[in-house]
Symmetry: C2
Subunit: 862 residues, 2 copies
């Protein structure tokens, strides 16, 4: 049977001539490359998408021509070859060509039982899949003998009223027709479209000479790979099973190791030359296919055949390590290594995850708002979380929703669950900022804060019981499943340093606290693009002073309270500036409505009245008066800066004094960025700018040091976008707050949208959650208008984005194409943003409209 | 002294030649016209703005030339002549030229006492105004004799160290310098700029030969007019005082009637020929000056002189009647009659007003949100207001703010006061809709609903005490001042019928109830542009069913509740359609968040739990879950239509069945307009359209009658404006909800803006309250974008505006210039909108950029 080992070039069955994955599918293309590398691939014939489409429509190609390369007594397999292996396809059919005569002939070569076994497997496969018969009569017998063969042939004839087909050409024709039609089945179509296949995705088929894997001397089949699919580290792994076909070695007992192993026998010991050949083949494939591959091989009577090779499936961590290794070794350019890693892959590396194989007892599910996994005891208030932290215990904070008062509790907790809110609710934004696993909008979770229980359906858990937040899936799990740790290893750092060399847009971090700032630096952010100052006023003592300021009846009382806040605020900025070591820091002045700082319940108001020495009824009345119907659209942002200007005065002074302090310490000159929130009219900017300028002049007079700053506007209202031309005349930069801009453009509160957003996306009302993916058609148009008008008014205007969308690849693409200077995002999203920016730059230089969505494609199919 | 009666043409003192009001002021221009009509006007010299400006800067013209027309012994007056008489100016100075010699000469003609009297008056006026001396020594003595004259001349010399100037040229020069400088004084400038004068407004001066009004045979002065300044009805009115000058007749005792009058002597009896001449002059002036004039005249020794004529000051009601009379008599074209009435003039006619002369005891002040005046007893809840109405008593409903639950109470009350909210708060919108006087945002008013008192400062009023709401000024008055009634008379209707003939854009009304619809028809609205359906569900029984629907646990429970609402809703539409008699009716489907229909307090929730037979805790929890952070941006509008589609199904069915009912009754075919609120994506429209289409098909099948409708979108979100091109493909019309659009464009809640809006407008941060005056720069640009994209997609697209701004002239101007089809506004604002639309059309045809702001200008100055 010498011709079986002949390494024929692949034979193409197609109306067109070119051998591409787009015409024949990925498997065929890969086999062709293996053949060209002189690997021992059995004779192979490839049928193109068009050919297979024709078969499904009843136009069968000349089967004799297909079989011609396999000689007069063909024995072949048929495997699917779609453009993307992930799209699935009909299972392989092996041993086509087996019939009575061939069985008898093979018995001489490999023994009767082995020959009958192959025949039985083929009859079974044909009967069930092709003839669509009831599987029960075709179960494989324990013993492959002539009686069981006769019984199965009889069963076939009884069911179909005709004998089992003996003509290999007819067998193959039926198999091809079955496979072609299976591809068009509804279920197959839905499944592959869910994986991103287009509606007209084609199926190619690969007909290949069987390498039997049964018989003597050594025969069998196995799978080999050369790196760990978990870590990406170099390692020869796989299994080999004597007297087997296909991938049986991975599934059946009796398989042995490939490399010498203390735990048992190995192929290296059994067939040292074949093992050495496999190692050589692996190295060759890796270098020439420019990818870490997994190879399927068969040994037939001591001769090695390579049947197939696929891209090694891998974890996110392995993906990074493999891409970096290929890049470092010069197998691929660094640009390609960067292109091969999808940005969201990094999420898995940055955060602890529930182990993929851990048992999951899901209590309830919501929106996965901040990635990572954390376990801890259930707590129901910020103070309980702080108490647990003080005891050194992990806790999961469960709230109906979180408010700024909960921030210290969130710092103390290991994870957060809220019953309400969406992807940009308070809990979600803060959670992402802190890198804290967070699940929000768990609408079927009932929280009883009095009894201190949570309930979902009939399940009830009480305070102190252990739960796990899975911020990847949005699940709340009972108990503590196993987890895998984050992997910020050398490969991760190398990949991002390459990305930084390649990208052409800045990446800053949104950071409010020294911890945030440190994280931002750890992730190599190029500065702080958004420092929200309001969180600084919720800390114990400050909150009290803040409330005194809010309730001050006279200007001098207010001034006194602000005088006490000034040194605290100055210290905040001093620390931030020191951590950032001269990198730019953009400080957004006070934004939220003042009533957020008031106690929300009667007891808190009573305490406040006592602290202020004012009658409770007065305090309640004033608190009541301050409440708002739509706080998002109320008395906040620059409106406070206009109507209670003393707050911004204090903040400006704190910024200037801290900046002078840093300049004195380092000898360099540090220029802070000051940003105004919620602007809707140019005059707002003028008025606040005049006040800040006079604070700057005063500080300059007092200190004798020059005070400089850059003033900018956070463009969050549609009107600010439309009037960006006027506004730019008074500002050095515009930074787009896309969250609020999305809220106002859609007329949709992010805190309230959670209740119907999933329904909306499911029904396709919105293509995507616009708080998650920037709405280019609506919000994007306002940004475009603003960018154009701003730059027209002032061509050195700095443009940036600092909303939650800033880390998304699509958003960064938008920003690049509109000439933005930088994006700013949560510290934990900075690595993804750096990578995305690099991928976009590389894709742009390659003339692609966007980076490849599937990293694997680059190699296998081109 | 014959030359005093010579009717010289006016002499001009100016570097330029043309005699226009823009160069010499209104008084000079009017005098020139009187002279050209051969009226007996004394010799007059006019000084132009530039001349007077020169005097103020020290460049005195040749005084001898100014005096030349008055002969060798001039005796003249100087009066101000600004472009607009309303802008004020220095007071007239009379008798310039009086000196010792002239006094002696005049004594021969008119008697010594009269001559001394004139001299004394001049010395007084000169001393106080021109020489700026202490007034006390210059009080006029009881007896004008030589001793008192000597005393006053001595006083002058004592104060100034020089004798009283005897040279008429020097006297006049001093007077001119004084008047020119007074015009530049700060106070004068502020006062006139508050009335709309530009910063560079000029002052002209008129120097006129004195007609003495003293002496024998008959001498004196008076003022005459030919129509009532209150009603506008033709009537000769005025006063005449023998031996007087100027307007003394109006102020001093002893004046007599002009026309024969049972109450006393009259000029008609005293000097019948002069009276007849005045009547002739009045008729001539009215016809040739094309305006109802008030004429100042003097009789000098039996000879009539006309010194001046001004446009008759008049009430709003008189303004309409006079304009219509002039139009009907052909004195002016109808176009001009329409131009002469400012649209806001009509407000005074539509509503009762506090009488201008009534005593006002102001308790507190807020925002004048809905015009009119109403008095009644203080009530603190909707039910109290209804109880008062049931007793036939007037009430004023006072609330912190109103909610949809208060609507029935608002219907029952005579006026509404709220402590919170702005010009477009719920109370304000509903108040205007109902024509109910309303004052909102009375922030210094403390309402104690428990004690049932209101407090402002130290003033406290309790339930049942009488207060008055002044919706014109925004005052809350204690007690019940006198009022004047609305005046929807024939002149009003005639004027608006002319307006309808002239205008080129439609005017519809926003009407939710049969009462509203009837008002709309009474005011000749061309249809209903916005029928808000949600108000229909607050009525007692319906509210209960509504709540059952909201709390339905199962689909069939919800369906059952909606089945009960269907006939009620159908009856609503049937009545509306009948009242509108086939005119278009645009029904906006259900808009507000469902939680607005839930009780707001615990007691209400307890009642609801009982009614629903559900545990209170469940009801409370569900109500709590439905609450929203920012209801304005929440689960409302078309979002309900998508997620709880049964509500729109029910409404669509009710509309179709009512429309078929009307068509059957009238034989014509009635096509309703159905409008979707809060759209932000085209797909929302597609989805709801498909559901409504299937309801239409079902009703068609059931009734065998064809069902047609027009679907439209209420464009309220910036995104809907930006995507208007897509949206238009599924719609017959777009109607702009400018209130919500303003909220979203600015990021500003109308309910919360009241707290700082006045501060913002005061500081000039916003030029105007954008909820009051459409923001053309921001919101207007979004409307422009939407209109262009919508019409590009579908050139027969109907465009309309249905926000609160719809009645404003500036908004209508915007709509006309963008090709809108109609505006829709509160019924009570329909007349103003009809008039504004006509004025714009007329101004457009005249080539003006906008209609004249001051109706008077048209005649007097051109």
């Amino acid at each position: 049977m010498q011709k079986h080992t002949t390494f024929n070039a692949i034979t193409l069955i197609t109306p067109t001539a070119s051998m591409t994955a787009e015409v024949f599918g990925g498997r065929a293309k890969c086999l062709q490359r293996l053949i060209r590398l002189d690997m021992p691939v059995p004779t192979t014939v490839a049928l193109s998408f068009d050919t297979v489409r024709g078969i499904a429509q009843g136009r069968m190609p000349d089967i004799d021509a297909v079989l011609e390369p396999f000689g007069p007594t063909p024995l072949v397999s048929v495997r699917p070859s779609s453009l993307d292996p992930d799209w699935g396809g009909p299972g392989a059919v092996l041993n086509i060509g087996m019939n009575d005569a061939r069985c008898a002939a093979l018995a001489d070569e490999i023994g009767l039982a082995s020959a009958i076994s192959l025949y039985l497997r083929f009859i079974q496969s044909f009967a069930i899949n092709v003839a669509r018969l009831d599987p029960e009569p075709f179960e494989l017998p324990d013993d492959a003998d002539e009686a069981s063969l006769a019984a199965m042939l009889a069963a076939y004839e009884a069911e179909t009223n005709e004998p089992f087909p003996q003509d290999p050409a007819r067998q193959l024709g039926e198999v091809l027709r079955f496979m072609a039609r299976a591809w068009d089945g509804t279920t197959a179509r839905i499944l592959r479209e869910a994986k991103g296949a287009p509606a007209d995705a084609g199926l190619g088929l690969v007909v290949q000479e069987m390498a039997l894997g049964v018989g003597a001397p050594e025969s069998g089949a196995g799978v080999i790979q050369f790196a760990s699919e978990v870590t990406g580290a170099p390692e020869v792994k796989g299994r080999y099973l004597s007297q087997s076909q296909g991938r049986d070695a991975l599934a059946q007992e009796g398989a042995i190791y490939l490399t010498r192993d203390p735990r048992g026998p190995s192929l290296e010991e059994l067939c040292p030359e074949i093992y050495a050949d496999l190692i050589r083949i692996g190295a060759l494939a890796r270098e020439r296919l420019r990818e870490e591959m997994q190879v399927e091989f068969t040994i037939e009577s001591g001769v090695l055949h390579v049947l197939d090779a696929v891209r090694l499936p891998r974890s996110s961590r392995a993906a990074v390590r493999i891409a970096v290794a290929l890049g470092e070794q010069g197998v691929i350019p660094r640009e390609e290594a960067v292109l091969r890693i999808a940005p969201n892959t990094l999420n898995d590396l940055l955060h602890r995850q529930v182990a993929p194989d851990a048992a999951r007892e899901v209590m309830a599910s919501g929106i996965a708002a901040s990635p990572g996994a954390a376990s801890g005891q259930l707590v129901f208030s910020a103070s309980e979380a702080q108490a647990a932290a003080a005891r050194g215990e992990q806790s999961i904070l469960v709230r109906r929703e979180t408010t700024p008062e909960d921030i210290r509790g969130m710092h103390a907790a290991s994870g957060v669950v809220t019953a309400r809110g969406g992807i940009t609710s308070h809990a979600a934004v803060i959670g992402r900022g802190l890198g804290l696993p967070c699940v929000v909008g768990v609408s079927n979770l009932t929280i009883d804060t009095r009894k201190r229980t949570i309930r979902a359906g009939s399940r009830v858990l009480g305070a102190g019981e252990i739960v796990t937040v899975d911020g990847h899936t949005g699940d709340v799990l009972i108990g503590q499943p196993g987890t895998i740790e984050p992997a910020l290893d050398d490969a991760f750092r190398t990949l991002l340093s390459w990305a930084d060399d390649l990208r052409d847009i800045g990446v800053r971090a949104n950071a409010d606290t020294p911890d945030d700032a440190q994280t931002a630096r750890d992730f190599s952010a190029e500065g702080i693009g958004l420092c929200r100052t309001e969180h600084m006023f919720f800390d114990g003592e400050r909150l009290t002073v803040m409330r005194e300021m809010i309730f001050a009846q006279r200007d001098d009382d207010r001034a006194a309270a602000l005088d006490r806040l000034l040194p605290m605020q100055r210290a905040d900025f001093t620390r931030l500036f020191e951590i950032m070591e001269g990198l730019p820091v953009c400080i957004r002045l006070f934004d939220p409505p003042l009533h957020e700082f008031l106690p929300s319940d009667r007891a808190g108001l009573r305490d406040l009245a006592e602290a202020l020495d004012q009658p409770l009824s007065d305090v309640m009345e004033r608190a009541e008066r301050m409440s708002e119907y739509n706080p998002m659209l109320g008395m906040r942002g620059v409106r406070l800066g206009i109507t209670v200007p003393e707050i911004y005065d204090m903040q400006a002074r704190a910024i200037f004094e801290a900046a002078i302090g840093l300049s004195e310490k380092t000898g360099g000159e540090f220029v802070p960025d000051i940003m105004l929130p919620l602007v809707s009219a140019q005059r707002e900017v003028e008025i606040v700018r005049a006040r800040i300028d006079s604070v700057a002049a005063a500080v300059q007079t007092e200190t004798g040091r020059e005070v400089t700053y850059r003033l900018g506007v956070m463009v969050e209202t549609p009107r600010a976008a439309l009037r960006a031309g006027d506004i730019a005349e008074n500002t050095a930069f515009l930074s787009f707050g896309t969250n609020d801009m999305t809220q106002m453009t859609y007329g949709l509160s992010r805190d309230d949208a959670g209740r119907f957003m999933s329904e909306y996306v499911k029904q396709g009302v919105y293509r995507e959650d616009p708080f998650h993916t920037l709405d280019l058609e609506g919000v994007g148009e306002l940004l475009t208008i603003a960018a154009e008008r701003g730059r027209t008014a002032r061509n050195d205007l700095v443009l940036a984005i600092c909303g939650e969308h800033g880390a998304d690849q699509a958003t960064i693409a938008f920003c690049r194409s509109h000439g933005f200077d930088y994006v700013s995002c949560s510290p934990f999203r900075v690595p993804g943003a750096r990578l995305s920016a690099a991928r976009l730059a590389v894709a742009g230089r390659m003339g692609l409209t966007e980076p490849p969505a599937k990293p694997g494609k680059i190699l296998i199919y081109q």
